[in-house]
Symmetry: C2
Subunit: 585 residues, 2 copies
Amino acid sequence: MTVLPNIDPSPCRKKIKKTLRKTCSVKTLKRRLPILSWLPKYKPGYFPQDFIAGITVGLTAIPQGIAYAVVAGLPPEHGLYASLTSGVIYVFFGSCYNVTVGPTAILAAMTAKYVSNYSADFAILVAFISGLVILGMGILQLGFLVEFISMPVISGFTTAAALQIAASQLKSFVGLSGPSGNYFAESIENLIVNFKTMKLYEPILGLATIIMLMLLKKLGEGCKRTDGFIKQVRWFISLSRNAVVIVVGMTVAFILKITLEHEPLILIGDIGGGLPEFSWPPFSTVVGNQTYSFGDMMNVMGTGFVVLPLVAIIESVAIAKAFAGGATVDATQEMIALGLCNIIGSFGQSMPITGSFTRTALNHMSGVVTPLGGVTKVILLIIALTSLTSTFYYIPKASLSGLIISAMFSMIDYKIVQKLWRNSKKELAILIVTGMVCLLYGLEYGIIAGIVIEAALLLHRVSRPKLSANFVKSQKGDLLIVPLTEDISYCAAEHIRRTVIKESQELSDTVIVIDGTNLKNMDFTAASNLVLVVKELDKKSLRVLMLNFNLILKNLCVDIDRSIEEKFVYGTNVLVMPEVFLKAV
Amino acid sequence: MTVLPNIDPSPCRKKIKKTLRKTCSVKTLKRRLPILSWLPKYKPGYFPQDFIAGITVGLTAIPQGIAYAVVAGLPPEHGLYASLTSGVIYVFFGSCYNVTVGPTAILAAMTAKYVSNYSADFAILVAFISGLVILGMGILQLGFLVEFISMPVISGFTTAAALQIAASQLKSFVGLSGPSGNYFAESIENLIVNFKTMKLYEPILGLATIIMLMLLKKLGEGCKRTDGFIKQVRWFISLSRNAVVIVVGMTVAFILKITLEHEPLILIGDIGGGLPEFSWPPFSTVVGNQTYSFGDMMNVMGTGFVVLPLVAIIESVAIAKAFAGGATVDATQEMIALGLCNIIGSFGQSMPITGSFTRTALNHMSGVVTPLGGVTKVILLIIALTSLTSTFYYIPKASLSGLIISAMFSMIDYKIVQKLWRNSKKELAILIVTGMVCLLYGLEYGIIAGIVIEAALLLHRVSRPKLSANFVKSQKGDLLIVPLTEDISYCAAEHIRRTVIKESQELSDTVIVIDGTNLKNMDFTAASNLVLVVKELDKKSLRVLMLNFNLILKNLCVDIDRSIEEKFVYGTNVLVMPEVFLKAV
């Protein structure tokens, strides 16, 4: 019997095997389906906390779901569907116990454009496509792309979004007729044009809603879940204030209808009751007389195809981090969960969803322990959709707009503006430009403008490394020392060439030392230009030395031009003892 | 009489005045119209040299002008017009005495797409628009943008352009019928499909042209302008080899016609004689039955709108630098000259032009002294256009394609591939990707792909600064030292946060020192994340110190969060004497 030689499998095969083994391990399964980790460890003692948190979140999710569907221009039930399906999916796939997902003001505002100009089908397709993109980015580990959106850009974008949403709600707030407008500028224009159609009851109720929300917030201050009964009640009412003001609004509408024998307020009206029906997302739609194929719909989405998923990821990951309390956030898993919530949600006519800051904060304050809190929220939503839609008929639009406008106050970040004013006017300018483009051309163009401007400025800075040449006089001769920075890339090559040539313009009898002590990286273009500089200075009969270049970079230069090898010198005493240095070389 | 107080004009007014004074000075005028500098200093002794250089350049400009018009798919006279008008303009505005402008192979290849798919009018409009963009970039000092095109990208692009041009000429080279193809892949496909239609005389003449060019080049080796008569003649013939082979080709064609009583070779045919008529560039055109408005034409240009001017600037500035012999090149002035050459040229039906490497090298070798050499060239071109067009009728297309193909050999840079293979495989990959996209999708997409990939990789590198944490044990306690790099921008913020958190994951009883000694710049996003890290580590009861941050950066951090002020410490002995350091803080 011949013994087969023990051949090592190729490294490539090994790697594939390792990846496969890693992908199929129990640990990975638990990471990708976090419910397998926390559910078996669930203790009965957690339940009351999860239950109460679920109630407070649910009592906010219902009015916010309706409100953000209204912001998007959709029938209100789409907001409730979105909260419902995403709530169920996140229980299984979510890795952060206190994060709550659902429709948010910003995503709703970004969807509104498609709905008002085309049809509601676009909102559902946007959810589906965004979900696919987010899932894909999660699987391909492309989450790092959001790191290229700086805080000034996010802040300018968020503030503009808040202003745009608030402006779009002013119409319902004062009971005007006419369209609400796609952009901030358009909304303000419509407001001015239709100002004469302002009603009486609407602004009163809207303002009363805002004031009530402020008072109810005050009511809960200093109260905790663990306090005595009275304080507990105050705490609970305060946290459920969104539901409270809507109930008050509905009651007012109902009483007015009975006493005046007609309804003076504009109501939200019929809401499609029952649970969402599951079917394929709309891959084609009809707007007016025109049929839009899938390709046409994607064309309409345009830049939204990339921007909406990015914004969803920023919101969700930022929230997860903010409430992680120092723990590391598995951004990949959050993106997978978010992607699946949107994809599966779109099969149940859901609008785009992401992490909600308000509801996550509420969940956290209510002392949630596991994602099971989400189940209570889901049950509340099911009750609302199956039994309460006829009651929701009486929700006055003015109450909703009051609710939305007051939520927008907290989205505007004044502090960052002050801090940037004091520390970095350039970054403040980026914030303002981002915000202005958002307000004047639309949210997605604003954020793209911000990202591109910031990246261009960064590239420009990388292309202009600061070189401070030192001129050292010594008895053995003069030295011009040009210390290079850590990293020189192709775009800085010409700048360095220009600087060295300029610094040595009127010199003679001087040794020019290009100091590569700190230099760690240099690409081919940069190295070629450096070689060119040396040769040009040689032509002018100036002596050039390349000091302390590491071996890889020296080899690169020598490979570009053999004749440059003799220029490389090593030593440390050039600045301290120029004479000794000059003698040594 | 009251004396008016001597009020300082506002700094803004001062600045405007200064700029105005600077703009209107004689020095600026001379810089912007360089002929005012060199013409008054012209010495009669310069004339013979300028004259001879003009002759050699002109003898190449004529065949190359015709050849590159053919590459662009234009009637041959457009190439001659382009050489003529740009030659005149450059005498006035050019700042580099030896640079020669005119049609080039690459610009011709980039124009070909518009001409073959639409009409010749597009080539003239492209020249006009490119001229405007180049002039605008010159005035706005945006020339630095070409610094973002690295050598691997340029090399991949140039090589692909050479292959594409050579492939498009293979058809004429072997006398095939059928179209020559928009892209490399298409040209090769057409060649294979139509291979059976190959003729006899064409490939022989084409090959003979290439061999003649090689031999004529050899003939001039070792000969200089200043040598004896025989060597001088050899030198002159060698430099005029492009004209020589075309004359040989014409003679062959003429003799064949007379001896065979029909013409077996495909000839260039009728050339529109006379000087160009000056009129507005075509702002609308008719292709087939369809009228293209200016807007439609701009739409057709698409990315060419930016890419063509960029390529023109790269070619021109690179050539100016290569032949400046160490002198600084006024890139702004070169761009202004180039822009004007294209704009004014387009009024005389000229195709797009830029600096020509071949003819500039020829000019240099011929010992040109001032831009006046260009005048001789222009006179030769005028003679050609007014008296020789009937002779040019006999230029065989095979001779032209042989001329073009042999010019392409020198455009392919093998050496850079070897050097990148040895030193930087990543940059070689960029070269290959650029080249492949050029060959498969078109030249402009290839160069854009290269620029974008390179910029994305650069941004990615900037977002991942190398942080090497040092763990130092000492009797007073352990230290984890994380030295920050010189520059931390928003996109690196998250990476640094992650690194610090990861390094300190399983530590306890350790002082974490975030070492900002080398740190020079940090933006708001990076500072905010750093503050966040410190607060997160605080929550884990790890002691954190921020070492040697400069005052501006310290103030920024403290402004973000007051409580962080106590974390800042200063000292230099942390690595050398950790005990002393720990005692001191």
